[in-house]
């Protein structure tokens, strides 16, 4: 409806991914900014942002199962690990002592996701029997079991001490992880990686956004809000929960495989409880049951250490020592913990909730409602 962007006369228009022009405009603007921003950014920021985008893919996955379907999973690190090693096995350079097929990205990215999804679907039946905190504790146990398996399964992970090489960013014969060129202009590998990760994040985010407005997404929300009521309404609980875990694990798997290539090195012990907690924190800080919030949370928490570092340079009273109680690493961890606590107490909807409040304030400005 021209001139009345908030008036929907059809259900499809109401359930559209981007219901009004403002949202369409800001999505395009945001994408353009994200695409050209790295041209002026230092290289370490590019790498950090690439990591943030990859983390965002994983956070979207966790948000689907925890935020939308209401099944709290502390086992996300395990699925990320599965994806990382599956991706490396499909896409890594072949070597004598570890598996590596050296396949194309078109194959190893989805393959990593599918392997993780299959394992997620295997774990899901446990979730059908368990409720609430018991489920959270089982998924926590999964992380410890996974860590053990990664440590011991040498042909896949290269063992705990040595590790292995990640999958190659090889797309239709083009290597994104080597410096490239357009005519006489050199394109750095960091920039290429950044763009690849951004494109993948956009694809995955749009898919998720589309999923949550579909029948499946509404079934997730119904199960979260009251599973018995959902069942009475004809939602197949078994199917919905397995689907939630499988899709979430797919996202985790893709994120894991990409994370491995971006960081270049992971250890069998990288996929530990702290990683799970970090992802939970990203969901909480970004905003549960929100795709945009997932991305905000991931970018915010990934950039936080770098920002603290930068603050130390700018503010004279904020001096950071390299060791001891006031070291950057320690402060960052403490802040990380306090942020989780603070957001849960003061803003349970996370950064997304803050954004909604700011938006509503300006929508109604100068009136308060």
């Amino acid at each position: 409806m021209r001139g009345r962007p908030e008036l929907f006369t059809r259900y499809e228009a109401d359930a559209a991914m981007l219901p009004n022009n403002t949202q369409r405009f800001w999505l395009v603007a945001g994408l353009v900014i994200a695409l050209v921003a790295p041209l002026w950014l230092p290289r370490d920021w590019m790498i950090l942002l690439s990591r943030a985008y990859v983390a965002a893919i994983g956070v979207i996955g966790l948000n689907l199962v925890t935020g939308y379907a209401g099944q709290v999973s502390l086992g996300h690190a395990f699925f990320i690990g599965v994806g990382a090693y599956a991706g490396a096995a499909f896409g890594g350079a072949p070597r004598d002592d570890v598996w590596g097929l050296g396949l194309d990205m078109l194959i190893w990215v989805p393959a990593a996701g599918l392997v993780a999804a299959a394992i997620g679907a295997l774990v899901a039946p446990i979730a059908l029997r368990l409720k609430g905190l018991y489920l959270a504790l089982v998924t926590l146990g999964l992380v410890f079991l996974g860590e053990h398996i990664f440590r011991e399964w040498d042909v896949l992970t290269g063992g705990a001490a040595t590790g292995r090489e990640p999958a190659q960013l090889l797309l239709l014969g083009y290597r994104f992880d080597l410096d490239g060129s357009v005519g006489s202009l050199m394109v750095r590998r960091e920039l290429q990686i950044y763009w690849v990760m951004l494109v993948l994040l956009v694809i995955m985010a749009l898919l998720a956004k589309n999923l949550v407005r579909s029948r499946v997404g509404r079934a997730f929300a119904a199960v979260r809000d009251r599973d018995i009521a959902a069942e009475v309404m004809g939602i197949d609980l078994t199917r919905t929960k397995i689907l939630a875990f499988a899709i979430s694990s797919f996202y985790a798997g893709v994120a894991g495989a990409l994370l491995f290539t971006v960081t270049g090195f992971v250890n069998a012990t990288s996929f530990n409880l702290l990683l799970s907690f970090t992802y939970i924190a990203m969901v909480v800080i970004g905003g549960a049951a929100s795709i945009a919030g997932s991305i905000m949370g991931a970018v915010f928490l990934t950039m936080l250490p770098r920002v603290i570092d930068a603050l130390g340079d700018v503010l004279p009273f904020f001096e950071t020592a390299s060791t001891g109680l006031l070291s950057t690493a320690t402060l960052e961890r403490i802040l990380f913990g306090l942020l989780i606590v603070g957001f849960l107490i003061f803003e349970p909807l996370g950064l997304y909730g803050i954004w909604i409040r700011v938006r509503n304030y300006w929508k109604a400005w100068p009136f308060s409602y």
């Binding site: 403490i334 913990g337 606590v341 849960l344």
Partner: protein, 298 residues
């Protein structure tokens, strides 16, 4: 046979640590339906204080331990009063995740203080052992088992006979009704966290008397006690004791026999065995062995 007895002795001493930790989890859960992930922080904070007081400050070990327990209790009380109390009535997961944040915020400074070297507890047992036939029993194991047994009995008596214990049971049964009977439910929450903090510190202290001492990864022991409460059921004190026993013994037996009979499972499999047991128990009984099944109204 000697091997079996030896494993049993080790298992019992491990079990006493797990029981102390599990009791803390269950006391908090029963009183306010909160699963506290802040336990690791309380565990090492108490143990660290004992270590500093007994070795660097030169206090007697027998004075350092009560001080450490009190300090951990106060830390638990502060955590509850400042961070968890505002969340009462919110979804259980929100509170569980909040305690994760709390744990990270509290644990990080303590691990930094512990530093890279191993800290000793200044305990009187050291490496002294008793011999019993071919079985070697470390004196610290004996101390642990006796302490755990005394603590468990004292707690049972406390819940059964004291006024506060009765109030705690009433609160666990039904908070609103307890409130209507004139019980200060808020104070019950505080007492639960103080008890849990002190128990965690005691467990942390015992866990750090071994060869490894108190180090940057000692806190994991608090999370390894989680299978114990899941097996016993989140809201059963007796279940926590049984779960702790099962986990401790299973871990010790696995450590003894798995390298011989199932070496393909890899080294240190005993550390993840409790989680395997937990998974198996939950597949059969989704609320643990003694946990109350949640009745849902539609």
């Amino acid at each position: 046979m000697t091997q079996f007895l030896q494993a049993t002795v080790t298992g019992l001493s491990l079990a006493s640590i797990y029981i102390l930790l599990a009791l803390g989890f269950v006391i908090i859960y029963k009183s306010m339906q909160v699963l506290s992930f802040a336990h690791p922080a309380l565990t090492i904070a108490g143990a660290y204080l004992v270590s500093v007081l007994a070795t660097e400050a030169g206090l007697s070990f027998w004075l350092a331990v009560p001080l450490g327990l009190v300090a951990a209790g106060v830390l638990g009380w502060l955590s509850e009063r400042v961070f968890v109390r505002p969340m009462v009535g919110k979804p259980v997961f929100a509170i569980a995740i909040l305690t994760i944040g709390l744990d990270i915020a509290l644990r990080t400074p303590v691990t930094t203080l512990i530093g890279l070297q191993f800290r000793t507890m200044g305990d009187p047992w050291g490496f002294a052992t008793w011999k019993w036939g071919d079985v070697v029993v470390q004196q610290r194991s004996g101390a642990m088992v006796i302490t755990a047994a005394v603590v468990v009995m004292a707690l049972f008596a406390f819940f059964r006979y004291s006024r506060v214990g009765l109030a705690m049971r009433a609160t666990a049964f039904d908070q609103e009704t307890a409130l209507a009977q004139g019980i200060n439910v808020g104070r019950i929450f505080s007492i639960a966290w103080i008890l849990a903090g002190a128990l965690a510190a005691l467990a942390g202290m015992f866990a750090s008397t071994a060869l490894a001492g108190l180090n940057q990864s000692t806190w994991v022991i608090a999370l390894r006690a989680l299978p114990a409460i899941v097996i016993g059921g989140l809201d059963s004190i007796g279940g926590a004791v049984l779960g702790g026993l099962v986990i401790g013994l299973v871990e010790a037996y696995t450590a003894t026999y798995q390298p011989q009979y199932a070496s393909f499972l890899g080294s240190n499999f005993s550390l993840v065995m409790p989680y395997v047991v937990m998974l198996l128990v939950l597949l059969v009984r989704p609320y643990g062995l003694f946990g109350t099944e949640e009745v849902e109204r539609v």
